[in-house]
Subunit: 211 residues, 2 copies
DNA sequence: GCTGCTATGTAACTTTAGTTACTTTTGAGC
DNA sequence: GCTCAAAAGTAACTAAAGTTACATAGCAGC
């Protein structure tokens, strides 16, 4: 069961022996939409390997204000969890299933061991970190260089990509939370994007017309 | 020569055998103030280990606009270089010596080999990535949650910390570049900070009174 | 001490984003 | 179809940040 899932996404990534081990020690888990996978301050006992679905990674400051960092897709892992698991430190992010998702949980005891044994694992870990670093840089670019209307449009198209749908089921308020701004601002800019012909607004739904 | 430098900062980090190898293959380099270490798009042939000094890491968008990501201190390495070196990819950042600095350049051929051979190297690499991820998150927090005046004050105190000086030799324009805003805005907010008694302004110099 | 360049100061204005307060629309559940 | 709560629309205002344009200050080099 785990094996088929693993095979279908990771057979070109990992060596057969590593897949065998993963099958042995990995714990399969299905996440419902909006289910919390990792919370701020959690001490991870392993790392999740995403088999299917989409996970939202958000950052929260002391005052409880949130901002979306990025999304994980199948084939991704959570670098921050890896960090937390290996160093017994705390996780600085929150991970929530954006839709129904499937993961394999790999216990932390194996993580270092596999780094020695499997080149494919080393590559995967390093790649994951790199992808995450790049994702973070993109987030920083977005925050530093783009205006709110551009950020919003990017948010919508990125999310549509991740969700593999051209119509997003979301409210203006939800977007405002993700982007750390107010609902009124989002409503205003969405209306503007609609006037530009890029999107079409419905209740609880946003249809994306241009990518 | 390299060995003494390495010993003084890394003897509690790396195993003796690894230090021996580093001494053999590492290339020592001294950087002048403002010397460019890594440029955007560079394909790294190794990773720099910082022995002393301070390196500024900046991000640039397509239009050539910059923003400071973070600083490296002695004991740090550039995770983005590591990424680039190991995967033969391009580096997404620019690294500039903020003051005279010393580095050891470790050739990329050894990087993976050492991951297998030395636990201390594995820990170091993973730690470096984690530190960098956290640093990036802090940058994101700053951009997303703080107002310009707070960001500026944080910039000044952070930089003073890194440079180990309470008086910074910098112009308003330079700060504006780092923070991706305009000189007028910085001058205005600096004046405000001065009125609050947190700093004292001089020509080409900013004295920090409160930390 | 004069020249000229760079850095800094500052006023006035524009734009963008955030806030408040209220209205209107929509759809689920009765 | 009516009720009601959640979602969305909107106006009016405030605040923060960016822009323009020009004035002044400080210092290096003559």
């Amino acid at each position: 069961m785990i094996r088929e899932k693993l095979d279908s996404y990771y057979s070109f990534v990992f060596e057969k022996e590593l897949m065998d081990e993963m099958e042995q020690v990995g714990v399969y888990k299905k996440l419902r939409e909006n289910e919390l996978l990792v919370d701020l301050g959690d001490q991870m006992k392993g790392v999740p390997l995403l088999l299917d679905g989409a996970i939202k990674i958000v950052r929260e400051d002391k005052k409880g204000e949130e901002i979306l960092l990025y999304f994980l897709e199948k084939g991704d892992t959570c670098a921050s969890s890896f960090a937390s698991a290996i160093s017994n430190g705390k996780c600085g992010i929150r991970a929530i299933a954006e839709k129904e998702s499937e993961i394999v949980f790999l216990p932390k005891e194996k993580l270092d061991e596999w780094l020695v044994k499997y080149k494919s694992w080393r590559n995967f870990v390093i790649d994951s970190y790199n992808i995450r670093l790049n994702e973070m840089m993109e987030t920083i670019d977005t925050l530093a260089f783009m205006r709110m209307d551009q950020r919003l449009y990017k948010y919508l198209t990125d999310k549509a990509q991740i969700m593999r749908e051209t119509t997003l089921n979301t409210t203006h308020q939800d977007i405002a939370y993700d982007m750390h701004t107010s609902r009124v601002v989002i409503s205003r800019l969405l209306k503007q994007l609609e006037n530009e012909g890029k999107i079409k607004l419905h209740r609880n739904k946003i249809e994306i017309l241009q990518f």
